[in-house]
């Protein structure tokens, strides 16, 4: 049962003090130190729309409304950090993005944002991709995945258009109507995304003013090289066949991808001052590939990416989606105290034993328990998580994903209270 005598230690403190205390908790756990108390992040996602009675479509599209809901939820639950949704459909709608589906656009207004994977790059495109990913991407890939950018296929080879005064003479071809239209679409898409970025920054600033710590997912968004090839280019079917049919080309392509992603992350972190790269992982978890395949096609590239980021002073914040129980020993090779791992469905106690002295661990509370469990079950698990996974520090209490749709507010309340009660270090 939730303890009736619970007094929230955070209530009554000034926002500036709360912010300083919460921020310190995150800084401590990222460095594997023991803070005063285990920080808890609530990645509400669509739970905000459910609690405050708006459609998911509105939550995605109305930034002011989402901020208002985050303020209310923050005041009600008082977590150390709070998150809403991470994406706005404006840029995808502007370019006619075929790789995503948003509520209210091809889905019910209360549907759930989803990726639509496809074989957008064919096996026979590998040579062109490896030769010049940007040229192939802009002229061949964009028309396939962005329905409003079909005209980009009419661009001259980018090498030709780039160099010398003869290159300038190719610019006239950009006046062709489909290409001119694509360029106007691009200008509109740029404005849409810049506006979304600005709203995201305002939201983070406002929540900080109210005393909440930084959302952990905030960082340069990049992917493991294998996942970028799979998610955005070859599709899962294609990439699984590539490991058998085109292993060398897959490896060569990943080398290119690794290079430009690290370069992007370093530039993003320098520009924003936020030294974090968020890396959600998809195909490397248990079940998709054998350990032999993992050792050849997935881990060396992902490890090189994380080591490269750490060397550049950036913390990789890695979302180990799915189950990683069979491959935790690889993770133990990462630089100590320099990375954070959010674990979705791995055995979190096993994770602590395997990598507790390597990385900061986040996760542990199953969404299903907050949806269909009892307050007593939630408190019991929270107590065990604090005692075992929180032991010695380096732990952030959270659900295993950045989404809490369907979770019951009274159970979430019991969970936060239990964390503040059992998560105190003496």
């Amino acid at each position: 049962m939730p303890s009736k005598t619970f007094v929230d230690p955070d209530v009554g403190k000034a926002p500036a003090q709360l912010y300083a205390e919460r921020m310190k908790r995150f800084v401590d756990v990222y460095q594997l130190k023991q803070p005063d108390r285990i920080p808890i992040q609530l990645g509400f996602g669509y739970m905000l729309a459910e609690m405050y009675g708006v459609t998911r479509q509105e939550q995605h599209e109305n930034g002011a409304k989402e901020l208002e809901m985050m303020e209310k939820a923050g005041a009600c639950f008082q977590p150390d950090s709070i998150m809403g949704l991470f994406n706005n459909p404006a840029v995808s709608l502007a370019v006619g993005d075929l790789m995503t589906k948003f509520p209210g656009h091809g889905l019910d207004p209360n549907g759930s944002f989803q990726f639509v994977e496809g074989e957008y790059m064919k096996a026979e495109d590998y040579d062109a991709f490896i030769d010049d990913p940007a040229d192939w991407g802009i002229r061949k890939y964009w028309p396939r995945v962005f329905s409003e950018l079909g005209g980009m296929g009419l661009l001259p080879p980018l090498g030709m258009a780039t160099f010398g005064v003869y290159g300038l003479y190719t610019l006239g071809s950009l006046a062709a109507p489909p290409l001119a239209k694509a360029l106007r679409v691009m200008a509109h898409a740029v404005e849409a995304q810049a506006a979304a970025d600005q709203r995201a920054v305002q939201t983070v600033q406002r929540m900080a003013e109210l005393g909440f710590g930084p959302p952990t997912f905030m960082g340069a968004l990049i992917e493991a090289p294998f996942d970028l090839m799979s998610d955005t280019l070859r599709g899962m079917r294609g990439i699984m066949l590539d490991m058998h049919r085109h292993p060398d080309k897959l490896l060569a392509a990943q080398e290119k991808v690794l290079r430009f992603q690290i370069e992007y992350a370093v530039a993003w972190c320098n520009a924003t001052g936020i030294k974090v790269a968020f890396i959600p992982l998809h195909r490397g978890s248990d079940g998709f590939m054998s350990l032999a395949q993992f050792e050849k096609f997935y881990w060396p590239q992902l490890k090189a990416m994380q080591v490269g980021l750490v060397e550049a002073g950036i913390m990789p914040f890695v979302f180990y989606e799915g189950v990683w129980d069979q491959r935790l020993r690889y993770l133990a090779d990462l630089p100590k105290g320099k990375t954070t791992g959010l674990f979705q469905s791995s055995d979190i106690f096993k994770v602590k034993r395997a990598v507790g002295d390597t990385m900061c661990i986040m996760g542990g509370m199953p969404n299903s328990l907050l949806q269909a469990g009892t307050a007593e079950q939630v408190r019991d698990l929270t107590k065990r998580l604090c005692a075992e996974v929180g032991k010695g520090g380096g732990y952030i209490m959270s659900v295993g994903v950045g989404e809490m749709e369907g979770c019951r507010p009274e159970l979430v309340k019991a969970w936060v209270e239990a964390t503040k009660e059992y998560g105190v270090y003496h």
Binding site: Y46, K101, L107, D108, G111, S112, Q114, V116, M236, R237, M240, L241, M243, H244, R245, G287, F288, M289, S290, Q293, Q344, S345, P366, N367, S368, L369, Q371, A372, G373, G400, V401, E403, E405, G406
Partner: protein
């Protein structure tokens, strides 16, 4: 194990297709080639169960089978025997378009002799109800990856009950982070953590019922 079965089982794609062609060219019956393919697919399924093979091998095995079928089909005088195993209705529930887990379950049920009808993704409760009436399966398997799918699973089970069909089928759920909590919430009979669990449940639920179903037909 003959050389065709061996080549498929070992994922030697080109050799498998070439061997199948040679067999057909030298007068081996197309039905025999298909029987070898079935034997090989069962072997691939067993390796998947043992954790020796993973998704990539299942996909490649499917590709090899497709290539060999293309060789066999024009030479087939009679249609191959239709399967007699128990019927399973499978689909990803409404609002969710994830298909990987569902496809693996389909593969594993298929190589274990079940007659699987795959309704695809984003399947509305009414479609499940309609298909249960039409096909009379013994087992309904609901797949879902998103947390949103928990609610869709519950709605699907409720729709099946409302149509008076709940006692005609056993319902399993699987995918993503589905667990016992979700199973109780959705009102399903059981949940499975992986495709092998789906096969075990389907076997357990249909044991001794195959003949009953055949008699009805």
């Amino acid at each position: 194990m003959n050389s065709l079965v061996q080549a498929i089982t070992d994922m030697r794609e080109e050799e498998a297709v070439r061997t199948a062609k040679e067999m057909l060219d030298t007068g081996v019956s197309p039905l025999q080639v298909l029987a070898d393919c079935r034997e090989a697919m069962s072997a691939v399924g067993r390796k998947f169960e043992k954790g020796e093979y993973f998704v990539s091998e299942l996909i490649l095995a499917g590709e090899i089978l497709k290539a060999i079928s293309a060789e066999v089909r024009p030479r087939l005088q009679q249609t191959a025997q239709t399967k007699q195993g128990p019927k399973v209705l499978l689909g990803t529930v409404k609002g969710d378009i994830h298909d990987i887990g569902k496809d693996i379950v389909n593969f594993m049920l298929d190589v274990n002799s079940f007659q699987v009808t795959d309704l695809g993704v984003d399947v509305a409760p009414s479609v499940f109800v309609e298909q249960i009436k039409q096909r009379e399966p013994l087992v309904v398997a609901l797949s879902g990856f998103l947390t949103l799918s928990y609610t869709s699973m519950k709605e699907t089970v409720e729709a099946i009950a409302a149509a008076g069909l709940r006692d005609k089928v056993k319902i399993m759920i699987g995918g993503g982070t589905v667990d016992q909590q979700v199973c109780s919430y959705a009102g399903a009979d059981a949940f499975g953590k992986d495709a092998m669990a789906a096969v075990a449940l389907a076997k357990q639920w249909t044991e001794g019922k195959i003949h009953a179903q055949q008699n009805v037909r």
